[in-house]
Amino acid sequence: MNGAAQVTPQAVEYIRILPEIVLTIFGIIIMMLDPLMDERRSQRTLGAVGLVGALAAIVATLYQSQYPGVGFWGMVNVDSFSVFFHFLVTAVTAVVILTSYEYMEVQQIRAGEYYGLILFGAVGMCLMSSAVELVLIFIALEISSISTYILAGFRRRAAISSESSVKYFLLGSFATAFFLYGVALMFGATGSTSIAVIGQVLASGQPPVLAYVGIALMFVGLGFKVAAAPFHVWTPDVYEGAPAPIVGFMSTAPKAAVFAVLLRILFEAHAPGRLWLIWVVAALSMTLGNIGALVQDNVKRLLAYSSIAHAGYLLVAFAALPANGIPAAMFYTASYAAMNVGAFAVVSHLASAGERYVTMEDYAGLGRRSPLLAATLTIFLLSLIGIPATGGFFAKFYVFSAALQANLVGLVIIGVLNSAVGAYYYLRVIVVMYMREARQEVPVSPVPLGLGVALAISAVATIYLGVLPGRVLEYATRSAGDLLR
């Protein structure tokens, strides 16, 4: 903590933001290459640069994990917790870029700054997971949000996409304002914006009322970002309009990062009064998300409601005790990322030009026309249901057992009933794919290499987390220890 006295950061401190630096450099390279290249042919090259950037960031993360500690005057902290989320975000970024490759060509969207924005967004998300100072967290949140606002509107020719972008932008800025207000109040209550100091102050005595309000406001802002009810109303519209790979991206990576922030704020800062706040939000999200999803015919909207529900399951872990709630939440973000990115990868492939084929009807008979693709989507959907041998099962399992250990029986019952309801609408997709004949044949183009790799990674990750969850969970448990120390 005596870093405050020091004027220039040491070399090792740059390693602690190495992944962010790498991502930024590659993002800038893309921006600089873009005007130099032929409009129509730029997409492949830029995509390749973006992919290399994401992979380099993964390597940087691995390298960074050797040098844990704080840096930059106590603003960033590299611990196994942040490394976990860095890895998650960069991996999702890589998979999403692989998915976008084909999508952008089919949709005839000019690549331009698309890949750059994805990388910049990833910078914000990575920074969110390692930032331990509220103002930096805010800045990181903004970096990530602004990139995704623009990305959501990238299907320029479709009105619905612009609607999605504007809606997301307006409501999103409103939410970040809430967060900022909360930060200000927290500073007023404790005299610091450093999470560690706030934690000490709040743990030392009876927390002031201002701190409760501050936490609540920050929670509202972050709750919006993870699409938790009652701050979820934007989700279906935005997800419906945004390009499918981007929905896969923004429903997983920024969410994971925001959950990381929430974990830090709620547990490391010993936030007071969190229990009932979370209880209500979690119960509402699960219930509203699942009920909303029941009646959807558009697969993207269905997955949007499902993501609200999953945010709810995840929040259940936040109501549990830190010692097993944190690893459960971390595991959940990882397995949710794997299965949801995969599901959206399939959706974006099937959507075809202009995202014409995104309704349930268009999936009819997929099991016959493209058995492998249907089987892959089935794996992701089964995981979203929470069937054993998939990551989704253990995710729910850890969350609910953590909640049970905290004696939150009511919340677990709500959660368990909700996952039974959830089974119905995921199953509907499977049923349509395998058991219904297509009224009109929707063309399915063969899966290109990039997408194939993306799907394989997601599917393998989903199954791996479902069969051998031990190592990931062990790592998450260790990080939780780091976080609580």
Binding site: G367, P388, L417, A420, M435
Partner: protein
């Protein structure tokens, strides 16, 4: 052959040979004939390997045998713990016995998406065996849920007209019910930090669980609901007729033959094993539901115009016997329940195969479409009569032994149980024989039926094993019962203490 390594590996082998076969099938080219032959070879091989279990089983020993117990996932503390006792061993063998017959019976009737069908069938077999051999509650739940998907797909893709409805209904009923079981399992884990069945059982018997008194009734119900839907017990049985009528023949055979037994097996193993007190105090209403199931199932079966639906309702009735036997808490009752499970698996499996054979020829299950079939199809009629008699409970065939034992146990528990249960035997004779009469006797009523071909070699091959098994089980039930007996005694041990406690007071 009976080395220690093989002993500990045998259950893994039996469980995962079908799975390995399914994975290999994935790589097969779409040549339907080769796929069928390969599936047959795999399932016969599994049956052969599974015979190791009864051959080397130490009959007199009560505990679990062929155990394997290695850590699988450190946190939560999940072990790959498998083992069988006299109860589960026979259910494993029943599964491996029926699967090759399912392959044979689906030889021609499945002609589209053949590869997927056999892959699903083999995955299904692995999941079913896994349910019976798991001794870790988590592993058990894992396989329990894993049976759902292949079965729902088998019904939904290969079934008859209303297959999608039936598949979803089946899935939702069993899925929602098993969620309660998961909640109960999680509670036990939260308190005890282990999923190991034996460890949990010991802890409960020694009274080492905090808050047990308040929670136990709810935990009992959590398990019970999941099992009751699977059995299915009276008010939650409505998925069964739909699922059976719509399922392809092989699906029905496995559904009736094995899947329903998961429920009764669960009651026997978990409800009785972990919650003896609650089992006893809840027995009156459970037995009442079982009796309603016996009589209601039989009465509804009687008026069914659809042959397959009739057999489906007869399953509800027969499974009622099993529940009655289990909750009579007598040696005879439990022995009988086990025996009815096995006998029902063989004879109802055979009945569904017979119905399927007729459907292949005429594409209908309506009883009125037939009549006088004994003339064009004498061999078929003979097999059918043999199996019907076995199912009705003719002495010296398999149905009789189990029902007799269950009823004698029920009489000992409470006379009125026995009396009401015994009417079920009469009803089953009524509806099955009446159905037989309408289908086979008299003159041929529809001209199309005059030229129906009799059984071919493949169909005979599928039916002979069931007929032989029905006969042997009826003549020499001790071959089965001497392994079941010690396990049942073991399961009943806490009840004997309970009874002596009551007497002591």
């Amino acid at each position: 052959m009976n080395s220690p390594t093989l002993d500990s590996a045998i259950l893994t082998l039996v469980t995962f040979i079908p799975m390995a076969g399914a994975l290999l099938l994935l790589l097969f080219p779409r040549r339907d004939r080769d796929i069928r032959i390969f599936a047959l070879v795999v399932s016969v091989l599994t049956f052969g390997v599974s015979l190791h279990l009864p051959v080397y089983f130490e009959r007199a020993r009560a505990g679990f045998q062929y155990e394997i117990n290695t850590p699988w996932i450190p946190t939560p503390n999940i072990h790959y713990h498998m083992g069988v006792d006299g109860i589960s061993m026979w259910l494993v063998v029943l599964t491996t016995f029926l699967t090759p017959l399912c392959v044979l019976i689906s030889w021609k009737s499945i002609h589209e998406r053949v590869k997927e069908f056999f892959i699903l069938l083999l995955i299904m077999e692995t999941a079913l065996i896994g349910v019976f051999v798991s001794l870790d509650l988590f592993l058990f739940y894992f396989f329990w849920e894993a049976t759902l998907i292949p079965m729902a797909l088998l019904i939904g893709i290969y079934g008859h007209e209303r297959r999608v409805y039936a598949a979803i209904k089946f899935f939702m009923f069993t899925m929602i019910a098993s969620v309660f079981m998961l909640a109960a399992i999680l509670w036990l884990y939260a308190k005890l930090g282990t999923f190991d069945f034996v460890a949990i059982q010991t802890a409960i018997r020694n009274g080492q669980v905090d808050g047990w008194v308040g929670a136990a009734p709810w935990l009992f119900l959590g398990f019970f609901v999941a099992f009751a839907v699977k059995v299915p017990l009276f008010p939650v049985h409505t998925w069964l007729p739909d699922a059976h009528v719509e399922a392809p023949t092989a699906g029905s055979v496995l559904l009736a033959g094995v899947l329903l037994k998961m429920g009764t097996y669960g009651m026997l193993r978990f409800n009785l094993g972990l919650f003896p007190d609650q089992s006893r105090s809840n027995a009156p209403w459970i037995v009442t539901l079982a009796l309603i199931g016996i009589i209601y199932g039989a009465l509804v079966a009687m008026v069914q115009p659809n042959m397959k639906k009739l057999i489906a309702y007869s399953s509800i009735s027969h499974l009622g016997f099993v529940v009655l036997g289990i909750f009579s808490f007598t040696q005879a009752g439990l022995d009988g329940a086990m025996f009815v499970m096995l006998a029902h698996g063989v004879s109802t499996g055979a009945l569904f195969m017979l119905a399927g054979i007729l459907h292949e020829r005429r594409h209908t299950f309506e009883i009125t479409e037939f009549g006088g079939l004994a003339t064009p199809m004498p061999v078929y009629a003979t097999f059918f009569s043999f199996i019907v008699l076995a199912s009705v409970g003719l002495p010296l065939l398999n149905g009789f032994v189990g029902e007799f034992l269950v009823l004698s146990g029920a009489f000992r528990a409470r006379e009125v149980y026995g009396i009401l249960g015994a009417t079920g035997v009469i009803w089953s004779a009524c509806y099955l024989l009446w159905m037989y009469q309408r289908v086979f006797f008299g003159k041929v009523t529809h001209d199309v039926n005059r030229t129906l071909p009799d059984l071919d070699m493949r169909e005979r091959l599928a039916l002979w094993p069931t007929a032989v098994a029905a006969l042997v089980m009826g003549v020499a039930p001790l071959l089965w019962l001497n392994a079941i007996d010690p396990a049942v005694q073991n399961a009943l041990a806490p009840f004997a203490q309970l009874a002596s406690k009551v007497v002591g007071q």
